[in-house]
């Protein structure tokens, strides 16, 4: 490892995509520290620095896009930073390019929104918040660009810490402190697993660059150990069940742009790392890995969808929906491993494409929805679905843009969520070719679970949108809710435009994903030049065209509208709602969030631990209370916490408080070590 002189660094920085990307990434911390110049000024930090940060996001997006459109030759830079003999390696290849694209695309929308969102008097001062926010962005970019395990871990921890401070920005509220602590705890448990995984992967060579790890050949045991540890570590970050418990606590606790960043972007860094380790460093070795990932992914997806359906807090609902979507992405990854290990490269590319596109889509629509809840929160001061309703009338901008997000996340054509879910279902169809009869018979059930999850997601999103934006306002104050301001609208529109664009013209996203599958698997799905349709394997087998869907529906709606006006008329009489002739209806007679989730509670009762207080029929002031809890809390986490507490108590015997005893311990330790050595 030669030490680079500064001149060689400067020459390295001229021209390549990686160097300009690194310079762009370095602008974020500069913006962050600039905020400390006037930390209390919302106008300076939010209205000036955040839009600049958004511009940097656009720059990252363009650079990553340009790289993916080129030949995608990996680029490397070594910087003499960090420890002696352990310089920082940066590497840009197709996989990191794709995730940088995602980061830039969603990040630009979120930063623009955040510029309009943050206002004075919300916990942490704006300057500090801006610093944490931009460090968070930069560390995510460095995680994606890291070329050795050392730099990766440093950036990973920066990411965890900066996001911890962002989550606890309202640290005066005890629940938020608790949520932050849980998040930090899970993040560190995950980080330990990741560290051990890298340790297993260096295979005795003590070389921690990814290049060296790519070259080592591990025994099946160590490869599987490394894979399992990575799955645990990154699964904890991504929110795979049963490591998901921090997610529904931390996401709602954070300010909305931060929730959007965490859900839309940070979870994707875990996906990125999982792909990097499984496909690039460990070169997929056993189909059993695929089965494990597939099973975990499907279970997480179903679990997340079911829990989302019974939530009454709008941000918690979205957090559970994130678990569901992460589950879908892992399902795709699991299928890809399964196909790849069975030497079915084409189908592996299909499944991996589905996972990548879904990651991209999720970063767009989930950010859009989290940001929409942010505007609702600011306008109404309410997070509980039971006190919202009818906001489509007072907040039309947010309502329309949130509708796009809702339809996307519900997986409906012609928007983007459908594209990836369709690709995922398509890849399930080819599992019949896997040469294991047992899997052939079980996997269709997986496809059914997937279909159930996707349809449940539609249920959840109808509940989400219907209860917040439609119907009668459940509180009188909601009638005066104000709409989003202009910066917020631009941020939301950016994300919504992304959802629509990927939905009707998925070809560009597919091409970006093809660069990744080409690099990781040496195979791309049918690169069809047609603008009219996508056909992943062959048009005879299956094809889909979002463009024709949108054009067809718009054309028919237009023709029908004109025909009705011409042949009949367009007269309208405004009357009170009919409701079967019952005139005394009020806003409390609509379904509440609990009511809308009732069929799910009824059918999936086995998933929850439910406590209910039903009022007696003679109660003059009846109160209905229901508490739904995750079984994993009681099943795993509480016993675990108790066991840790007990062992800590047992160890505290050693802590007598007398110096002589402690010296005795040191002496005994020395003796034991000497015995070992001699």
């Amino acid at each position: 490892m030669s030490v680079y002189s500064w001149t060689s660094i400067i020459t390295a920085f001229s021209g390549t995509n990686l160097s300009s990307l690194l310079l762009l990434v370095a602008v974020w911390p500069v913006l962050g520290f600039a905020g400390l110049l006037r930390p209390r000024s919302v106008r300076f930090v939010a209205r000036l620095l955040f839009p600049l940060g958004a511009l940097v996001c656009v720059g990252v997006l363009l650079k990553a896009g340009a790289f993916l459109a080129s030949e995608c030759v990996p680029q490397e830079i070594v910087l003499p930073l960090g420890l002696a003999n352990l310089p920082f390696h940066f590497r840009l290849d197709a996989l990191s390019g794709f995730f940088l694209l995602l980061l830039g695309l969603a990040g630009a929308g979120i930063s623009t929104f955040a510029a309009g969102y943050f206002r004075a008097g919300e916990g942490t001062s704006p300057g500090l918040l801006g610093l944490q926010y931009h460090i968070f962005l930069a560390s995510m970019a460095v995680v994606i660009l890291a070329g050795d395990a050392y730099l990766f871990m440093v950036a990973w921890e920066m990411m965890a810490l900066s996001s911890y401070f962002l989550v606890t920005s309202q640290h005066r509220i005890p629940e938020i402190r608790r949520a932050g602590f849980l998040y930090l705890l899970m993040a560190h448990l995950g980080a330990i697993c990741i560290l051990l995984s890298f340790g297993a992967m260096q295979g005795g060579s003590w070389q921690f660059t990814f290049d060296a790890m790519r070259g080592t050949s591990l025994t099946p045991f160590w490869a599987t150990a490394a894979f399992t540890l990575a799955l645990l570590g990154f699964g904890a970050k991504a929110g795979l069940v049963p490591l998901h418990v921090w997610l529904p606590e931390a996401h709602p606790a954070a300010p909305s742009p931060v929730s959007a960043m965490m859900s839309g972007l940070m979870l994707k860094t875990a996906i990125y790392a999982m792909l990097r380790i499984t496909f690039d460093l460990l070169h997929v070795q056993f189909w059993q890995w695929g089965v494990a990932v597939l099973a975990l992914g499907l279970f997480s997806a179903l679990f997340g969808a079911v829990f989302a359906a019974v939530q009454t807090d709008m941000k918690r609902l979205l957090a559970y929906s994130s678990i569901e979507n992460i589950g879908l992405i892992f399902t795709g990854i699991g299928l890809a491993i399964l196909f790849e290990a069975s030497n079915l490269r084409l189908f592996a590319a299909l499944a991996l494409t589905a996972a990548l596109i879904h990651a991209l889509n999720h970063s767009l629509f989930k950010s859009l929805l989290f940001l929409s809840t942010g505007t609702v929160l600011h306008a109404t001061k309410q997070r509980s679905l039971g006190k919202l309703g009818g906001l489509i009338r007072s907040m039309p901008w947010v309502a329309v843009l949130a509708l796009i997000g809702t339809l996307s996340i519900a997986g409906l054509p012609p928007l983007n969520g459908f594209v990836s879910e369709w690709l995922l279902l398509q890849s399930f169809l080819f599992t019949a070719q896997i040469p294991h009869t047992f899997i052939n018979m079980l996997v269709p059930l997986g496809a059914a679970a997937l279909a159930l999850t996707v349809a449940l997601a539609a249920y959840v999103m109808v509940k989400f949108y219907g209860v917040i934006f439609l119907g009668q306002p459940r509180e009188p104050s909601l009638a005066h809710a104000h709409d989003a301001n202009w910066l917020e609208r631009i941020g939301l529109m950016w994300l919504a435009a992304g959802c629509v664009a990927i939905g009707i013209l998925p070809q560009f996203a597919l091409r970006a994903a093809a660069a990744v599958t080409g690099a990781l698997l040496g195979q791309t799905i049918a690169p069809n030049a047609s603008i009219w349709q996508i056909a992943p394997i062959a048009p005879e087998q299956a094809s889909y065209s979002g463009l024709i869907f949108l054009a067809g529906i718009v054309a028919v709606v237009g023709v029908a509208f004109v025909a009705v006006r011409l042949l009949a008329h367009g007269r309208i009489r405004r009357t009170p709602a009919w409701d079967c002739g019952y005139p005394w209806q009020n806003s409390r007679m609509q379904d509440t969030a609990e009511g809308f989730g009732q069929p799910i509670r009824h059918m999936f009762g086995a998933f929850f631990r439910m406590e209910r207080d039903l009022p007696s029929p003679y109660d003059s002031e009846p109160r209905y209370r229901i508490h739904i809890e995750d079984r994993f809390w009681r099943g795993i986490y509480r016993p675990l916490a108790r066991a840790v507490q007990r062992s800590a108590d047992a160890m505290s015997v050693l802590q007598g408080g007398r110096l002589s005893i402690y010296l005795l311990f040191s002496f005994l330790t020395l003796i034991v070590l000497l015995v070992f050595i001699l």
Binding site: A448, Q541, Y544, W578, D579
Partner: protein, 321 residues
């Protein structure tokens, strides 16, 4: 040539829009006969549509634009689906816009729009209908997907035109899994189209309604569009069923002559007449289920489809071995 295919496509769509209410009317007529009532004329549905189109629309005071757009969107999705499904011929320009899985997605779009519109006014029946409709939807989709898996295993495609063409090239192959899949498909069709064991299209008891509960606030032209879209949905489902299980008569790829089209139209009408009578029979001999029994009904459909898959896999393995 290209103009001709587009003309054929246009003709197919117009035919679908035109005869869908007739199909609904035919089922109503058969039902009336089976229940010893005097039947309404076949044109009853058209008369109702005409009447509705000419009435003034009574719109709730606080209805949002979403409420007024939804009927058009619903109609649009159903017409688009009719353009994609090969009811007469397989060689159509729109046919490649979606395979059967994407068609399910299209129907889901219509369902979500309808449910959202039902929640818009904020009446108790509207939200109740929306909730139940979405519930039936998420129960039916896995079963329908399993049916399509069956088809895929048989002919290696989920594109309906390829399925029809594939069937035409191996007409002698009858796989036992098809029977399971067909029964499952009929059950899903009943549930998705608000027919008797799950819902009753002719009900006037509010508490038992699903589909009708969502329409309570609609009137005049909006209601007419929704009714028309509903009959189109039933027609579309029937045509998907024909493409999957009874593809005889559909003009396949390469058969472009007028005679082939004539045969296709005749075959379609005969099949619709028979299917309508069969539907009416099923509806007349079965009782409406409680809403909480609906999951069992659809789980049954799902299990049948999975059985079909297993039968196919087991038989396939034994023949290959």
């Amino acid at each position: 040539m290209r103009v001709l295919t587009f003309a054929r496509q246009f003709g197919e769509v117009v035919l679908a829009i035109a005869i869908a209410p007739l199909f609904a009317g035919w089922i109503a007529q058969c039902r009336a006969w089976l229940q010893n009532r005097s039947a309404p004329p076949l044109t009853q549905t058209y008369r109702m549509l005409r009447k509705l189109f000419h009435k003034d629309a009574a719109l709730a005071v606080d209805a949002s634009p979403l409420f007024r757009t939804a009927p058009y969107v619903l109609f649009g999705t159903m017409v688009l689906a009719a353009a994609i499904i090969p009811s007469l011929a397989t060689d159509l320009p729109f046919a490649r816009a979606a395979d059967a899985i994407a068609l399910i997605g299209l129907f889901a779009t219509a369902r979500v729009f309808m449910s959202l519109a039902a929640m818009d006014i904020g009446t108790s029946f509207g939200t109740l209908g929306a909730r139940r409709e979405m519930m039936i939807g998420f129960l039916a989709e896995p079963a329908l997907l399993m049916v399509l898996f069956n088809a895929f295993l048989l002919y290696g495609s989920t594109a309906l035109p390829s399925l029809v063409d594939g069937y035409a090239s191996h007409p002698s192959v009858i796989d036992p899994s098809v029977i399971f899949a067909a029964v499952a498909f009929v059950m899903v069709l009943l549930a998705e189209n608000a027919r008797v064991p799950i819902d009753n299209p002719a009900t006037h008891l509010e508490l038992t309604m699903i589909h009708e509960a969502m329409l309570l606030e609609y009137s005049a032209r909006h209601l007419a569009l929704i009714e028309w879209a509903s009959s189109l949905k039933l027609f579309n489902y029937a045509c998907i069923g024909f493409a999957l299980f009874l593809p005889w008569g559909i003009a396949i790829h390469g058969a472009d002559g007028a005679s082939a089209l004539l045969i296709a139209v005749t075959a379609l009408i005969v099949k619709l007449a028979l299917a309508g009578a069969a539907l009416a029979l099923i509806e007349s001999v079965s009782a409406k289920l409680r809403i909480f029994r609906a999951p069992e009904f659809l789980a049954m459909a799902f299990l049948l489809a999975v059985l079909g898959l297993l039968v196919h896999l087991l038989l396939g393995v034994s023949t290959h071995a």
